[in-house]
């Protein structure tokens, strides 16, 4: 068995786990759309949707991209990209005063 074949014999999620994760992703998407249409959640819609979105992101990264079963260095590479991206978003929004605009009156 060559090196690559050995690498791929490592533990990955089972097919039933993949289906379960897909079901959870579909349910979360339904919840997101429901939250969008519920009027009394308007004031807290952003934090709720960001948490749901982050959950979906994490599920795809952990199970479909196999980060849960793979080498930690790969998680570190993705995390570095995400931290820099988050810093860019925050810095630009602060610079343009967009955070002030988004705050509830």
């Amino acid at each position: 068995m060559n090196e690559i074949a050995e690498h791929h014999s490592g533990a990955h999620a089972s097919r039933s786990t993949y289906w379960l994760v897909a079901l959870i992703l579909a349910i979360i998407t339904l919840l997101e759309v429901a939250v969008f249409y519920i009027p009394f959640l308007r004031t807290v819609i952003a934090p709720i949707l960001l948490v749901l979105s982050a959950t979906k992101f994490a599920l795809v990264a952990m199970f479909f991209m196999h980060l849960r079963y793979d080498r930690p260095i790969l998680t570190a590479i993705l995390s570095t990209g995400l931290v820099v991206a988050a810093a860019i978003i925050l810095a630009l929004m602060l610079l343009f005063g967009a955070l002030r605009l988004m705050a509830p009156a």
Binding site: H7, A26, E32, I73, A86, A98, L101, M102
Partner: protein, 190 residues
């Protein structure tokens, strides 16, 4: 070279794809930052609330999520040397990716007829650049999947080529997670 692992014990191509994904996070982060920075600053319409079609985009989002499921099942089939299942699931990724792209083409043309263009206002500029780049990534992914499907039909997609499918899958899943963020930030948080 591609069959050797790096000092981290990860094959070179897989490591390269992860580094690429890390850089893509920054790329899309910049586009999302630009969209958010100019949000609500358009002096003329149409505005997001007036024009965005949430039911259509929700279906597109569901389709893209299910394409990620098809992608992992394709990888699983290749690793098990089940060529028939691999063809089915890779074909599924192509079909679902195609449906997503068709939805985006419909959305873009609808917006154009409603008066939202790249030059119309800040929302139009940032929206089309962000979602357009994402759509271009999906298009590249669909072409990549089509090449894998051709390989499968030629009998050249056995377990020994599973790294090829895994690397393609990583790209596809990344395109999916980017859309998860775009769907929330652009469409749902208006």
């Amino acid at each position: 070279m591609s069959t050797h692992a790096t000092t981290f014990g990860v094959p070179h191509r897989k490591m390269a794809m992860w580094v690429f994904i890390g850089s893509e996070c920054m790329f899309f982060g910049s586009l999302i930052a630009t969209y958010l920075s100019y949000k609500g600053k358009s002096v003329v319409g149409p505005t997001p609330a007036e024009i965005l079609n949430i039911p259509l985009t929700s279906v597109s989002t569901f389709v893209l999520l299910m394409s990620s499921l098809a992608m992992v099942l394709a990888l699983d089939a290749v690793q098990r040397d089940d060529t028939r299942q691999a063809k089915i699931w890779i074909g599924g990724v192509i079909v679902l990716g195609g449906i997503f792209l068709a939805g985006q083409v419909y959305e873009f043309s609808h917006f154009y007829h409603e008066g939202l263009t790249l030059q119309q206002n800040l929302f139009g500029s940032t929206f089309f650049v962000l979602t357009g780049f994402h759509g271009a990534h999906v298009t590249v992914g669909v072409i990549w999947m089509a090449t894998l499907l051709v390989m499968a039909f030629r009998g050249r997609l056995g377990p020994e080529r599973s790294l090829d499918v895994e690397v393609a899958g990583l790209y596809w899943h990344f395109v999916d997670v980017v859309w998860i963020v775009i769907f929330t930030v652009v469409y749902l948080i208006q």
